[in-house]
Amino acid sequence: MTERVQSNMEAVAAPDLDAQLMLRVREGDDESFRVLLEKHRNPLVHFLQRMVQDAGASEELAQEVFLRIYRSRGSYEASAKFTTWMFRIASHLALNWLRDERHERAAERLDAGRTADTHGSELPVRELKDSRPLVEQDMVYETRLQEIRDSIASLPAKQRAAVLMHKYEEMGYSQIAQALECSESAVKSLLFRAYETLRARLAHLAEGV
């Protein structure tokens, strides 16, 4: 996809240091790109990790985001926050990945069903994650964490992206709206529904306090 760099995004009144760095990248200064990479690599990879819940895929997607940013340097215009643009590319790639992954999983399930049919009543083999003995506290923590991961994974992809940007990237409604290419009211609606689901699924966490 060729990124149309922020042509329809709102202008940023305050000077954005990242945007200034990106303008230098446009002029051929690769050192500025290194600075941007160092600054945003971890938040971006972590966002994608939580989004796709696959460590390898999240790094692959993050590399693609930075590659697209680098490729688009020639047409870059500092008309919006750099991070908004970056998360817009990241969300787009992650949503596509999740869509494709869903199709792949559906195909795998279909194949597994066919295999089971041909091999009698074989049950699909469940992967055992880690067989190391854990102390009780670690087990409780791991269980809680898995519940949280599963709850996030159960959200529709766009709701998931909105929650992750809101919670971990501390982005405002307007910035999330730009990243997800929808209206601010649509973002609020996504967040309300997502948090409502999470409150219902994770209600017991409140009881334990």
Binding site: R34, L37, R41, N42, V45, H46, Q49, R50, A55, E59, A62, Q63, F66, L67, Y70, R71, Y141, R144, L145, E147, I148, R149, I152, H166, K167, Y168, E170, G172, Y173, K188, L191, F192, Y195, L198, R199, L202, A203, L205, A206, V209
Partner: protein
């Protein structure tokens, strides 16, 4: 009791993005409203739960791999050379048509001129044959005259 605030106020309160006055107003309301108080407790629990989810560290080779990919793109790859030739394809096609047309035309001209050449060579052969016939005739006449008796000469 004041009216229940909208849900974005609850989210902003838990996220810590309300200003001090707004936050105090919401707290006052939540103390009086059991519904909002319960919502606040469950939203805060979700927030704390999400805080527990620490991400994995990024691979040490992330930057190196990214720069390798950037450098690979910077180098002119084979496909870009092909793309260059692809751009020239219409011009090459036109040139090929012109050359083919010229060759066909040239052959046609050769086909037209070839019978003339044959005609010329045929006439030359005829001329040669006629010359040989004439020579033979002369020889015959010469032989006949030399073979006449002397009385005839007298």
């Amino acid at each position: 009791m004041t009216h229940c605030p909208t849900e974005d106020v609850l989210l902003d309160y838990v996220a810590g993005s309300l200003n001090a006055a707004q936050a105090a107003g919401f707290e006052r309301h939540a103390k009086e409203c059991s519904r909002c108080d319960a919502l606040l407790a469950s939203q805060a629990a979700v927030w704390r739960g999400l805080d527990e989810w620490k991400p994995e560290p990024v691979s040490a080779g992330f930057n190196r791999e990214l720069w390798r990919r950037i450098d690979a793109e910077a180098a002119p790859p084979l496909w870009s050379a092909l793309r260059f030739w692809k751009q020239l394809a219409p011009l090459v096609a036109v040139l090929a048509l012109v050359v083919t047309g010229y060759m066909l035309d040239h052959r046609a001209q050769q086909a037209v001129t070839a019978p003339a050449a044959v005609t010329v060579s045929t006439s030359e052969a005829d001329q040669l044959e006629r010359a040989l016939d004439d020579l033979q005739l002369l020889e015959t006449v010469d032989t006949a005259s030399s073979a006449k008796p002397a009385s005839d000469l007298m």
